[in-house]
Symmetry: C2
Subunit: 341 residues, 2 copies
């Protein structure tokens, strides 16, 4: 019997198909039809092919935009948003709009031509995490921005374009993304009723049942969500409650790097190097005027959502917000738990 399951945070129902389900080993990477790679602008020595760097980890004796770096952050060469200007909030009859002000940056995670973050050393992933935090903290100073989305597109199907080099993206926006607002509202409702964080409860239950648990190491758990939208969707959550990704301390960064490398390696080995996306879910910037509840410190809990791209998503799923997941998350978790890396 298929099941209808409800996401405990944002209240979305999904169908978990059981009878027409494929076995976990029937899913695999789908990059056969990707177009050929383009010359890489992100490798060491090609610094002149990117806009000037905003941030870099490099020895003091090297000059900006020259070789010798370990990680660079540069503005997108084709930014979705522009950094200069006023917000210009205005109406147009019924409609609301504002100028497309924001930041759009590329985090070049390594100077080597490595494609998948799974293949970076753990110490290098720690540097990536450091750069995320440094950029978030810097962008928070800009009063025009409400949120920084950090995400990764890996593989052609996942939106990475024709360059394989390992990188993440960051978009700072003057508005809060819809999904973030929904999570905050859902978490607050739960907290108001139970006086407990819904994510902390989720972690306790997953550790207890172990059905959907993939990893439990170094202060983090990796699980498949109860109401998964996609086969092999994975969430990484810190066991220590915090609403802000930027609050990670040094042991926390190490623990997260270990967890990410393990999870991404399991996806790579187990599923034939599939394309994937991940998104860091963290609290919006809180400013005196932002209107966000003080309770956010208690009720929200940062985490990372990883979405392998193994199935085509039918448009009705966008049109309705109603997802059909062809693989029970318990089966996906078992498969990933057992995948050797």
């Amino acid at each position: 019997m298929p099941e209808l399951r409800k996401d405990p945070i944002i209240g979305r129902w999904v169908i978990i198909a059981t009878e027409r389900a494929k076995r976990p080993d029937q899913f695999s990477g789908t990059e056969q039809n990707a177009p050929p790679e383009k010359p890489c602008p992100f490798c060491e020595g090609n610094e002149s092919h990117t806009p000037p760097e905003i941030y870099a980890l490099r020895p003091r004796h090297t000059a900006p935009n020259t070789p010798g770096w370990e990680l660079r952050v540069v503005p997108s060469i084709a930014p979705f948003l522009r950094i200069e200007g006023e917000l210009g909030r205005r109406g147009k009859g019924l409609y609301d709009l504002m100028n497309g002000i924001g930041a759009h940056e590329i985090i070049i995670e390594t100077n080597k031509h490595i494609g998948n973050m799974a293949d970076l050393e753990e110490e290098q992933i720690v540097k990536v995490i450091d750069s995320y935090i440094d950029r978030m903290v810097d962008l928070e100073k800009d009063e025009r921005f409400k949120y920084v989305m950090v995400f990764k597109n890996y593989g052609w199907i996942a939106g990475a374009g024709r360059v394989k080099h390992c990188r993440s993206q960051l978009i700072a926006t003057p508005v809060n993304p819809k999904r973030v607002k929904e999570e905050l509202a859902g978490a607050k409702t739960y907290y108001d009723y139970h006086e407990r964080c819904v994510f902390c409860d989720l972690i306790r239950q997953e550790l207890d049942s172990k059905e959907r648990l993939i990893l439990d190491i170094d202060g983090f758990i990796a699980v498949t969500p109860f109401a998964a939208r996609f086969p092999f969707e994975v969430w990484i959550l810190p066991k220590r409650h915090s609403c802000n990704f930027t609050s990670l301390d040094t042991p926390g960064k190490l623990g997260l790097a270990t967890t990410m490398k393990k999870v991404l390696s399991k996806l790579k080995k187990g599923l034939g190097d599939p394309p994937y996306n991940y998104v860091i879910h963290t609290a919006p910037f809180r400013r005196p005027k932002s209107g966000y509840w003080k309770s956010i410190d208690y009720d929200y809990h940062w985490h990372i959502e990883i979405m392998p791209r193994l199935t085509r998503v039918a448009g009705f799923e966008w049109g309705t917000g109603f997802y059909i997941c062809p693989l029970p998350p318990e089966d996906a978790a078992k498969f990933l738990r057992e995948a050797e890396v």
Copy 2:
């Protein structure tokens, strides 16, 4: 300068890219890599390849599941949901779930092996609309269901599988889809403030400005939405206010068929027969216990959303609810207005 635009109904902000925008004629169908077609179970003569029909338009002297029909509705051969059983709503610790009870039906829109609804005769599209309404009305009698989603996947990328034959799908569910709830809530908020339907206001403004207007015929308008998520996204709205798709009268059905045929033909001719999805957005079933506001008659307005599949959607758009549309909807509307059919 790019723009941030807000959907006036559900409040989702989207980035409308202007500077990295492609020209409208640079988008086109992307079905090159589709796998080969399978033998068609939906053509006349192959009735034994589908489950027995639930509904058919056929002359009285022909027997069910034999040739001679004009349109058939059959259960999905691989249903996501099961029709028999109790809902069994229950909790599992923190989580809520119920049995996957529902209906999943296939509307076979023609007895001929035609792929795109754009190529059906108008009279045949009227029959498709009739069948949608008849099935919705019939399923409303089942007290377990709250909503019927009617949608179409056309083309491999849009989720249609390896059979081209023109068909729609219908899923009846015991829960309301998230997007529907959001639309109802947004429309109610607008109505509570203005005492006017947000969709009626939208229609008036679009007819007035004409910037995003594609068609205005026979009681319907076709527009690109102000805060479009996808290039060439098109909404079809009835000018006469009604929350229920099933309230369409005979002239309304004719007008909708004409509008749909014109819009789908413009997409086909203008954009090289792209894959697309559409979803009918209509009010949920209202029952004594359903908890839906009486005001729904006044504040909600049924419509159809058509989403051509011309771009890859990066996963961060699912992860954040934040969409980037690479083509201003005004340019898309101009292109489609001028596309000859």
